[in-house]
């Protein structure tokens, strides 16, 4: 168990930049845009109406309905959470693609393999990093970003004579929204597991360009399937493989919508219309689909193959 902990710590050392700094940098960017936005509107306001409208709106904020304010904050928190989940998927995509390839490329695999750590442990440590450690670090980054955001807002309110505690802080549903993010990340990991498994396999197997293997092979399979049906069955609408890929990518990048069915009536499902609790319930309901089980089987096979190949592939 000590070994596994050390392996996870190792991943953290190597990828701290991607897992910890990325969410914090996005947070800083959002806060900077907020401040810039505020400064420019104030400037326009000064020029156009001598600053009257901001003063008015500052006062007006306090008379807003608490439910409305709460809704706006929910939408903001869930929208940023959804953005973070999307970024998390992109970060993990490249992390996994390099996870069993980079050390073969620079030869350091010969050092890792000189230690009493089995290849199964190594591969599983990459998987646990992707499914648990990185989401936790992103959660931490999201919380810091949200707090920074609200603090900046509070200062702006104070400058405009509004009380940030009554207007803002008392209306924030921290537990619901952050809870939705955490649950969303875990459900994202479940939906993305076949993709993660495939990436681990590509990373473990590839001799030169894991990206080509990981991306182009599924696309080629999809194309072959499409043209096979078009030519031999005269069916131009069979896009089975592409549909599956799009389905998985959709659920993996925007887990908040993973609870919806793929039929037309739910097409306009907008996660920001819902509260955190409703989202969690919807996502959990979405797990009970046969696609989820096929995905888990596929993930198990690809991860096992990644471990198998890792045992004898030491160079690129």
């Amino acid at each position: 168990m000590n070994t596994f902990k050390a392996l996870l710590e190792r991943e953290y050392w190597e990828h701290r930049g991607a897992f910890l700094k990325t969410p914090l940098i996005i947070g800083i960017v959002i806060v900077v845009f907020l401040i810039l936005g505020y400064l420019t509107t104030e400037r326009f306001d000064q020029v156009l109406t001598n600053g009257q409208s901001i003063e008015l709106s500052g006062k007006a904020l306090e008379s807003f309905n608490a439910d409305d304010v709460s809704n706006v904050i929910d939408v903001f928190m869930l929208a940023t959470a959804s953005l973070y989940q999307f970024v998390l998927f992109v970060v993990l995509f490249f992390f996994l693609l390099g996870s069993l390839y980079d050390d073969r490329k620079d030869g350091s695999i010969l050092f890792w393999k000189s230690l009493p750590v089995s290849d199964t442990q190594t591969v599983l440590s990459k998987l646990v990093t992707a499914t648990l450690v990185a989401p936790l670090l992103f959660t931490f980054g999201l919380i810091i970003s949200h707090l920074a955001f609200f603090i900046v807002f509070s200062v702006i309110f104070l400058l405009n004579g509004a009380n940030p505690f009554t207007v803002l802080w008392s209306n924030i549903e921290f537990i619901n929204n952050w809870g939705a993010f955490v649950v969303g990340c875990l459900i994202q990991a479940l939906w993305a597991l076949p993709i993660y498994g495939w990436l681990l396999f590509a990373s473990s197997y590839s001799k030169r360009r894991p990206f080509m293997l990981a991306v182009f092979v599924p696309l080629m399979v999809g194309l072959v399937w499409y043209w096979y049906n078009a030519i031999f069955n005269y069916n131009l609408l069979k896009i089975g493989v592409f549909k599956t890929l799009a389905f998985l990518l959709g659920k993996s990048t925007v887990p908040f919508t993973s609870g919806m069915d793929t039929n037309a009536e739910n097409f306009g499902f907008d996660p920001t219309d819902h509260t955190g609790v409703e989202l969690i319930q919807s996502m959990l309901r979405g797990l009970n689909q046969s696609d989820m089980y096929y995905g888990l089987v596929f993930a198990t096979i690809t991860i096992a193959l990644a471990i198998y190949v890792r045992r004898f592939r030491n160079t690129t």
Binding site: T3, D103, D106, S108, K113, P116, S118, D119
Partner: protein
């Protein structure tokens, strides 16, 4: 357990290419074995099988363990440096020591720190900030702090300058080696290690062509520096090789007719590299 390493009829094929052909070899405790062969002879292939990095056919046991099936178990008892500067570039010295301590039951972090205190390497250095020689020093410090029964070194000093190479082998011999341990080394710079070897194994085209200890080797082969006056006579005894130095001919002989040939000139011990060249040529002829 009688042998540290025992290989019986070990074969390895890559497609149609037979990289190892019926390799039979036993290595006992307390030896320093030089595994020597030309490029592509199968040295690395053999070592990879020994270290559990690749599979092979035949019976191969290291400390009684099947290396490929139980590499993680084996690595508790043996350690290796395969190639120079393979430590990960991004890692800090303190991190690599901590990681090794947590994953390796026989690693002493105090000892490693003590070795490092004699070098210019600092704990908060990253590997990518170290020179190639310092990276090799760090790797050696880690390996020497592991209480292992077998140490395998595959070209551990390739590309290092002469000062580092000398120091590397000095450290290895003075601070690490004792009769409870066993070392297997491959290198192209045979001259630098031949004085520390107890045994040599020559490998050529996947086959073991010589497996002898150094004493046997120097008693069964010898060099004679022959002057012009005895040249014809010496030649009639069919030397294995011959080279000309300062007007004298240095000839390498097999020991069969030593008594006669000794009278022809000054006898000296052949170097492993000369012997290696001679045996490789003999095989080809």
């Amino acid at each position: 357990m009688s042998h540290i390493l025992s290989a019986q009829n070990v074969n390895k094929k890559f497609g149609n290419f037979q990289a190892l052909k019926n390799v039979n070899i036993n290595i006992d405790k307390g030896k320093i074995v030089g595994l020597i062969g030309p490029n592509g002879a199968g040295k690395t292939t053999l070592l990879k099988s020994v270290l559990g990095l690749d599979s092979c056919d035949g019976e191969l046991k290291v400390l009684g363990i099947d290396p490929f099936r139980k590499r993680a178990d084996l690595m508790k008892e043996i350690c290796f440096i395969a190639d120079v500067a393979v430590l990960p570039k991004w890692i800090k010295v303190s991190q690599v020591l901590k990681f090794t301590e947590q994953t390796h039951p026989n690693f002493s972090i105090e000892q490693a720190k003590q070795f490092l205190s004699r070098t210019k390497i600092k704990m908060d250095h990253k590997v990518k900030e170290l020179s190639k020689g310092m990276t090799a020093q760090l790797h050696l410090a880690i390996v020497m702090s592991i209480n292992a029964k077998l140490l395998v070194l595959d070209e551990p000093t390739l590309g290092l300058d002469i000062l580092f190479r000398k120091q590397f082998y000095d450290n290895l011999l003075n601070d690490y080696f004792d009769n409870e341990r066993t070392i297997i080394i491959t290198t192209h710079q045979v001259e630098e290690i031949e004085h520390i070897l107890t045994d040599v194994v020559f490998i050529r085209e996947g086959e073991i062509v010589l497996d002898a200890n150094m004493d046997e080797l120097t008693s069964s082969y010898f060099e004679v520096m022959v002057g012009q006056e005895h040249y014809e006579e010496a030649l009639s005894h069919k030397p294995l090789t011959m080279r000309k130095v300062f007007g004298k001919h240095i000839m390498l002989f097999n020991s069969t007719s030593r008594d006669v040939i000794e009278t022809l000139g000054e006898v000296q011990r052949p170097s492993v590299s000369d012997l290696f060249v001679a045996l490789m040529q003999e095989e080809q002829a």
